[in-house]
């Protein structure tokens, strides 16, 4: 029933149009690059100063200084470019990134995003470029499990963790559903097979609405 991480990534990838400038957040979202349908030319941005990032290098062939923001080895496609931190953030803050895919600890029904700090003192907070991406990208997609490992809902009437940004999330992709953030709150567009509306609602703290994509 629940989508695997790779299946979630594939669902996100469907919604990334050819020719987009895309920044994939550290963690789960980086899987998206592996499952983009063939034939689409996506230009990946990394906030440590790369545009036109390619897949991970063959083992043993990588350039130790060519890494993404998550410190994983990557490659550069023909047409790629290097630049410094400030220019990387000018791209993000200036609205030049078409789509960012970010992980989340919590999403509020008004589109608030919390993805950098929890109430768990053993997990050090880590914001990276998430605030700038969340505010600056034209479209903010969230990719996350529907609930925490111990079953607590992540989709809430309002976030309880510190916000990354307010009212920025456009769509949430979970292992159970695809959910839009609308002026009316969360609207479920797709559900995995084998789950009912009531079961999905039971795993969600905010009220869910159900509708077909406009």
């Amino acid at each position: 029933m629940n989508l695997s991480k790779r299946q979630m990534a594939a669902r996100v990838a469907q919604d990334i149009p050819d020719g987009s400038y895309v920044n994939l957040g550290i963690g789960l979202p980086t899987l998206v690059a592996d499952v983009v349908p063939p034939g689409r030319e996506i230009v990946y941005h990394s906030e440590n100063g790369i545009l036109g990032m390619g897949p991970a290098p063959e083992p043993g062939t990588g350039d130790p200084e060519l890494i993404n923001a998550g410190k994983q080895p990557v490659t550069l496609l023909p047409g790629g470019a290097y630049f410094h931190h400030t220019d990387a953030f000018v791209m993000m803050r200036g609205g030049h990134i078409d789509i960012t895919v970010l992980g989340a600890f919590q999403v509020g029904e008004g589109g608030d995003l919390a993805n950098w700090a929890t109430d768990d003192a053993t997990m050090p907070p880590a914001v990276g470029g998430a605030m700038d991406l969340a505010v600056g990208a034209r479209r903010v997609l969230v990719m996350t499990t529907h609930t925490t490992k111990d079953g607590r809902p992540k989709l809430l009437p309002a976030c309880t963790f510190p916000l990354t940004a307010a009212a920025v999330v456009d769509r949430v992709y979970t292992d159970l559903a695809v959910i839009d953030v609308t002026p009316d709150g969360f609207v479920v567009r797709e559900m995995v097979d084998g789950i009912t509306r009531e079961e999905l609602q039971a795993r969600t703290a905010a009220t869910l609405h159900f509708g077909v994509e406009p």
């Binding site: 230009v43 023909p78 290097y82 630049f83 990134i97």
Partner: protein, 82 residues
């Protein structure tokens, strides 16, 4: 006041359209300039809603040195060879 010294806060200016002259461009819109002609182009390209660039030649994707690209293509919307 920043660090005890008076400063003027200038509001940022945005342009609807920037017309920029560069030297070479590739299909992604990556640009290199020629000598002091670099002056305003790279800055205005980042600040405009639409950046239209005139270049003297269009080159194959991958033939510009990624270390020497001055304006990454993300800031460029249209390229005209003239």
């Amino acid at each position: 006041m920043i660090n005890g010294r008076r400063h003027v806060f200038e509001q940022p200016l945005h342009a609807d359209v920037a017309l920029v002259k560069a030297h070479l461009a590739d299909r992604w819109g990556n640009l290199v300039y020629h000598s002091a002609a670099r002056n305003f182009g790279p800055v205005m390209a980042t600040a405009a809603r639409l950046a239209v660039v005139q270049v003297s030649a269009f080159v194959e994707l991958g033939s510009l040195d990624p270390e020497a690209v001055v304006t990454p293509g993300i800031f460029v919307d249209r390229v005209v060879v003239a």
